[in-house]
Structures are given as C-alpha cells and as structure tokens.
Amino acid sequence: MSHILAATPSGTNTDSIAVETVFWILAFISVGAALAMILVRRAVHCAIMLAVVMLCLATMYAMQGAPFLAFVQIIVYTGAVLMLFLFVVMLIGISSSDSVVETIKGQRAAAGLAAIGLFLILILSIGHAAIGPAARTTAANNVDNINLTGLARLIFTTYVFPFEVTGALLITAAVGAMVLAHRERTAPKPTQRDLAARRLVSGQLAPDPAPGVYALHDAADRPALLPDGSTSELSVSQTLAPRDPNEETPPVRPELPAPAVTEAES
C-alpha cells in the first residue's frame, strides 16, 4: 500500500509517454462522458455517465500525486453521492425522461452562446496565467514522503478551523435533510384494532394469495392460478399491477385467459 500512498515525485520522470497516453485517453473518455451526460434523456443514463467522469477524474488525481483524493473520490463520490442520486432517481421514477420542449424561447441557443463565452473567458485566463511545470513536492509537506500524512498534518494544523466548520456544516445538512424528508401525519395511525375492523368490513378475512410460481416463470408480477384455471388479480401487488406487460417482461404464458373471475367475486 505504501507505494500507492507515497507521493509520486512529480517533475521530470512522470512526464513519460505512458502518463501522457493515459492522460489523453482519460481526457477523451471524460469529456465524451460529460457530453453524453448532458445529451442523454434518461436520468439513470446521466448518473452512469457521471460515474464514468468521476472515475476518470479519480485516476487523474492518482496520476497527479493525490492518491488520498483519488480514493476519497471513488468512495465518497462514486460510492455514496451517486448512490444517493440513484436512490432519488428510483424514488421519483426510473422512466422519467426530460421533455425536449423549450419552455423559454431560444433558451438552448442562449445557453450555447453563454457556454462559448464562458469557455473563451476561462481558456483566455488560463492562457494568460503563468501555469508552470509541476514542482517537486517539498519534504515539509509530505511527511515521510507519504501524501496522507502530509494532508493530515495540514488539515489538523493550518486548516483546523475550516475542518471544524465542516463538521458543523455536515451536522446541519443531516438535520436539514431529516426536516425536509419529514412528513406530518394528517390522519392518526390506524391501530391493530382498526385494521382488524377494516378487514372484517372488506369481506376478505384471509391475506391476499401469493403470486404465481410457475415452472417457466417465477416472478412477483405473475398472477396466481385459481383452481378453475383463471388468474387471480388479487395475488399481484398493487404497485406491480399497472405495469404494462408488453413493455419489458412479456408474459410467459400468453394463452392464459384474461382474469375474468377473481377471488373476491367467486
């Protein structure tokens, strides 16, 4: 592990052909993935493209003598933040895609112009700035020539106050997320007695039948077969029922009759 965590002596020997090749490959992949991210319609595909960009950037951090940041990038960004994004995408709806309708007239063109302007300004400014070659990392910064130790020393000495403020920020964010996710209950929670009374009134005392388990198909969205050969709609979860069967999972046994008779009626 020490050879990974050791700070690479940046300078002449890192400017090898291999590093250059890896940089260009990663640069093209990351720019392509970023472009795909703003071009694809579905939010899930955007998240995958963002993961590609983040992994490329993590590799670049490792190439630039920042192995700790590379690991943090993979663990925190691609591991935690993107999973959070995917969770919200799943909650909001996996198939939700952007509308292509422009609500503000000429917004895309204006955005493109603004992007070109921003790009020119930034490129000109870094062209004017004196960005020299990589300097050799000083021994005072890298204790024992290990990047992690040097970072820890900096965080806990020079940057100890921002570090503490970061802790306060994280706590505030956690509390804020809990407050925002909290929902006031408008009706009192039904007790067990209420549920029992409701079940008696509904006329169906037993729980719903289990979904169908066939030799060819074993899935929760397949209805159970009744003794007379018809299917029972009651056995399919309400969440799965409205799913269009022709969308992705065609029924394995299409010759089954339509669920004319359900258990509630029989």
């Binding site: 940046s10 400017d15 590093v19 250059e20 940089f23 640069a27 990351s30 720019v31 970023a34 991210m37 703003i38 939010a43 998240a47 963002l50 960009v53 950037l57 670049m60 190439m63 630039q64 003598g65 920042a66 700790f68 940041l69 990038q73 925190v76 933040v81 959070l84 919200v88 909001i92 939700s96 895609s97 917004q107 204006a110 955005a111 603004a114 992007a115 921003l118 790009f119 930034l122 490129i123 870094i126 960005i131 070659p133 990589a134 300097a135 050799r136 990392t137 910064n141 890298n142 990047n147 970072l151 900096l154 020079t158 940057y159 970061t166 964010a173 804020g176 925002l180 996710a181 929902r183």
Partner: protein, 99 residues
C-alpha cells in the same frame, strides 16, 4: 503532463456542466451537472497543488468534496419534498413564486 493540460480539461468539464445546468429540465440531472462542475474545480485544485508543490490545493479539494456531499444531501431532500408536493421533478413545474 504539465498542469496546464489538467486545468484546460477542468475548464472543458466545467463548461459542459454549466451547459447542462442551463439546458436540462430534470432537477436531478441539473444536480448531477452541478456535481460535474464541482469535480472540474477539484481537478483544477489538484493540478494547482501539483504545480506549486504543496498540498494546500489538495486540502481545499477535500473540503470541496465534503461541502458537495452536504449539498447533495440537502438538495436531494428538497427535491423529494417538491416531488411529493407537485408530483414532478421538472424545474419548470416549481413556479409557484412566479404568480
């Protein structure tokens, strides 16, 4: 590789993220584009740290990551609250303050 290559790449990624924020309608995708911009800034910070030969830029990039994580948590919670109230994740539908 000279740090200027990394800085140029970070500029390109930043601009792409900015375009995404401007043109996309889905609030989650807008968030992802903001993350892309933050990542581009981090790349520039790391490149500058390497250029100067000290670790301050890496520490700043680390702080940026922490703040980005906090921002994502709160932002996605807001998004969920809006989605619960309006059944939509589009930025065009959250327009109650307009009228």
């Amino acid at each position: 590789m000279s740090p200027i290559h990394y800085v140029a790449l970070s500029v390109i990624l930043f601009v792409i993220g900015g375009v995404g924020v401007l043109v996309r309608r889905n609030a989650i995708v807008v968030f992802m584009c903001i993350e892309l911009m933050l990542n581009a800034c981090n790349l520039a910070f790391v490149a500058f740290a390497r250029m100067h030969g000290n670790l301050d830029g890496q520490v700043i990039a680390f702080f940026v990551m922490v703040v980005a994580a906090a921002e994502v948590v709160v932002g996605l919670a807001i998004l969920m609250a809006i989605f619960r109230a309006r059944r939509s994740a589009s930025v065009d539908d959250a327009n109650l303050l307009k009228y």
